[in-house]
Amino acid sequence: MSELFLFIVLLYTLSGVIPLCIRKKRIWSVSSIIMCGGGILLTLFSLPCLLPSSAKTILFQGEWVTFPITIGIDRLSAVFCILLGILSLSVALYTPGYLDRMHGNRRKYVVSGFIPLFLLSMLLVILAGTTFAFLVFWELMAILSFFLVLTEFEEEKTRYASLFYLAMTQLSTVFVFLGILLIRMVTGSWEYPALLSGNDPLIFLSFLCLFFGIAIKSGVIPFHKWLPHAHPAAPSPVSALMSGMMISTALYALFRVVTGFYTPGVVYGFLILAFGCLTAVLGVMYALKEQDLKGLLAYSSIDNTGIILIGTGLWAVFSAFGYPALALMALAGAVFHAISHGLFKGLLFLTAGSVCQAAGTRNIDEMGGILVRMPWTGGFFFIGVLSIASIPPFSGFIGELLILQSLIGGLSELSPLLQIVMVVVLSLFSLTGALTVTTFVKAFGLTFLALPRSEGAKKAREVPWPMYAGPAVLAGVSAGLGIFSGQIFSFLGYPGLLPDLLVLFLLLLGTTILVYAAVWSYASRKTRITRTWDCGMMAPSSRMEYTGSGFTEPVVRFFGALYRTRIFSTREYLDPHQCLYKSGTGGIRLMKYFEECLYLPIARRIDRYASLVSSLQNGDVDRYVLYVFCTVLVLILILGWSA
């Protein structure tokens, strides 16, 4: 077991080091093959650890006693290892083709070398067995992903995004570090604590620190602002990994901390629940109005984080009030959704990456008509859309179903005050679901359907087969995970949580075939291809179509209070009575609420504080001598006093 694990680590390292050291043409295809092997082996290696009977296995034990590093696998980490294995496989298939079409030369080696190392760092975070090891690998993951975001460094936007990312991710590490130190103060060891409880304020403080650290990494609103900058700025395979896997890694940490470290408490539960609702609703609202295809996907990752947080928060609340069955259902929903989100978000980012590369733009308003030009990529994107819009029986539906069931169940069981909380969460949760569907009708419909709205989109061509084989793996797993969800849950030892979706799938398939057969045999089969109805004028052009901004305008107007839209106009007139209109301007501005009301004020305050400090440091030797003198004087005084 342990040897196999070390072999997998070796494979990942090898596929990372090879392109960094050997500068041969298309060396990344060799590295990809090794990574494919690593991914498949990792998936197979983790599968047996999922069984209900399997216990925690130690894979590696560091010798260093002061700062122990242990690596071990248990059921929770095995789940995420499988996700990582599948994502590695599909990204490995996808990356060579993407790199071939990317501009720039040296950076391709760096990207293909850093991707396996980044994956390895996440694997180690998931398998870390001590808080110290966790911290080390967490920081490693942050730094590797920072360099990957910086790949296209010539662009101003990318530099801004990566610096923003670096600042936020270091903040996250600081919080995690503080949390881990506090736990060390409470328990006196670097081992993962087990179900801490009691009135010690340090315990709650450590929870807060860990939660904020994880929240920053997984894009919880209001700590999310870096995410929609950084995820789209990276090359698409990296975006897929950041949204699909890095967020999942952070969520793994959340599950570990919330379910393992602390005894579930009501306060923990409500805290997570409140952040979850805020994140889910606002995340999807921002996703809806986003015009950048990859930015839209990044915001939608935030909203899915929110959904998972809601599930986790419900687990804590139900556990604290003593409803283990409901709690289990909520937690199962949250974990399942984390996995399926990793899969379908990876799928969506990879296919969206192909589209953006082929069309030469990321703006949805400049796309359109891609489905005819890239049928395979479009088809797999569609499966991703069905999953994320939680259409039964695809995988995105399962998580939402379980969380909804536990919410409605909680509505019937709990005390009146909590019932009100449940109703509020329920309506926000379903609002999120509905807006997600709208968002992805926009993302799919306006990108892939109808007519191309730019020259780039018109010239888009299908990518070579490995670039859709990677997404195809994810699409297959994503659909299979949903269809066989009932069987999977019984296999894992949790039967009866949800209706059998395999039957539903067979029914849907059977009915569709029957309807088709009936229509085919009884109705007229005459078919003609013709022009879209044009009101008797001329053939509709792409200028007459709805654009992405137009499509979502009604929702933006319905929720105008949340978007803080400002419509402004100025007019100039020729005459003093303001009758003859001369010229004017008008526009709609969407306020970046968190950036303008939270981030910038804090940044300004830090700036002011820093300028105060920097005036102390003016480089004048005399002044430094004065500081030393004062310090010595103060020390003498204090020591003399205490003596």
């Binding site: 479009g378 939680s390 539906f397 019932q419 679901g433 359907l449 509709p540």
Partner: protein
């Protein structure tokens, strides 16, 4: 899956398919009469479908696979959803897929397909319809979920079979809970089937149309399938309201007499509800698009009120 479940499925689906066009025509007839017109023959719905199925189907040259798949998928999704809602007979054994959330998300699936279909043909009307439909659905969805959550909470079952059974055995129609629930359920019918004051099913004017806009470029058998699935959806939503408020007549055990009686009673109940819907439509004017959320809020507050009243009791 035993024999009884299969028999139930076949019977239910066949019955829904059979009566749905009739209910559509009853509403049309009532509206026409209120406006002083003669109105269509009550069997006109069947003639229309037969005519459309015989006609040639046109596809836009810009359209992709969505236009080809959506009509079949839309109908089959609703037929699978129909398995969840017993109209005339509740079998002893529940289906394995019987879950109210599955039913709701099947409706969402149908809506997603139709909205994409509207965008597929590159027509401005389609884009307009699908944009409006998705915007409205974003607001109605939380309302729908809360209404159904209230239903589950009051009736104590996640499957609609169980809900109808409880409604039949424990709740008299005049109980305040049922009366309160009937208001949001009625509003749901109006919204989900695109009726005045939310949408106008008769118009093809770009200012007002929502549902029709998306279907503007479908024809022949595809249009027939969409019309049929629209009618099926209306019947299913009507059945939820009817079998909760007036559950009388549903057969609980299998016998030819009980089934015929159940069918006849449902036909009667459905016709009465259709007349009410027709009168309701005639009494209102189409609402301004941006005022529709207020209408949904009525449904939302009624369902919240139901939950609170149950909490108090």
């Amino acid at each position: 899956m035993n024999g009884e479940s299969i028999l139930f499925g076949l019977l239910n689906v066949a019955f829904v398919l059979l009566i749905s066009p009739f209910f559509m025509m009853v509403i049309k007839k009532v509206k026409a009469r209120v406006q002083g017109r003669e109105g269509p023959h009550l069997l006109q719905g069947y003639y229309n479908l037969a005519k459309l199925f015989r006609k040639e189907t046109l596809y836009s040259e810009y359209a992709g696979f969505i236009s080809r798949i959506a009509p079949y998928a839309a109908l089959s999704i609703l037929l699978v959803a129909a398995l969840q809602i017993p109209l005339i007979w509740i079998p002893e054994q529940e289906l394995v897929t019987a879950n109210i959330i599955v039913f709701l998300y099947l409706l969402v699936a149908g809506r997603l397909l139709i909205a994409l279909l509207g965008l597929d043909t590159a027509s401005t009307f389609g884009g307009m319809g699908s944009s409006r439909e998705m915007s409205l659905s974003a607001i109605i969805e939380p309302v729908t979920v809360v209404v159904f959550a209230a239903l589950v909470y009051v009736m104590g079952s996640f499957s609609i079979h169980g809900i109808f059974r409880t409604a039949m055995t424990t709740f008299p129609a005049y109980s305040p809970t049922v009366l309160l629930l009937s208001v949001p359920l009625f509003i749901l019918i109006i919204v989900e089937t695109g009726r005045v004051p939310v949408d106008n099913p008769e118009t093809h004017l770009e200012l007002t149309m929502v549902h029709e806009g998306m279907l503007l470029d479908t024809s022949g058998r595809n249009l027939a399938l969409f019309e049929l699935s629209h009618a099926v959806k209306q019947t299913l939503l009507m059945a939820i309201l009817l079998n909760i408020v007036v559950p009388a007549g549903i057969a609980l055990e299998l016998s030819a007499f009980a089934l015929v009686l159940g069918g006849a009673v449902f036909l009667l109940k459905g016709t009465v509800l259709c007349v009410i819907i027709g009168l309701f439509e005639s009494a209102y004017a189409k609402m301004r698009f941006f005022q529709i959320p207020n209408f949904f809020m009525i449904a939302f507050f009624f369902s919240i009120l139901t939950i609170f009243i149950e909490v108090m009791m």
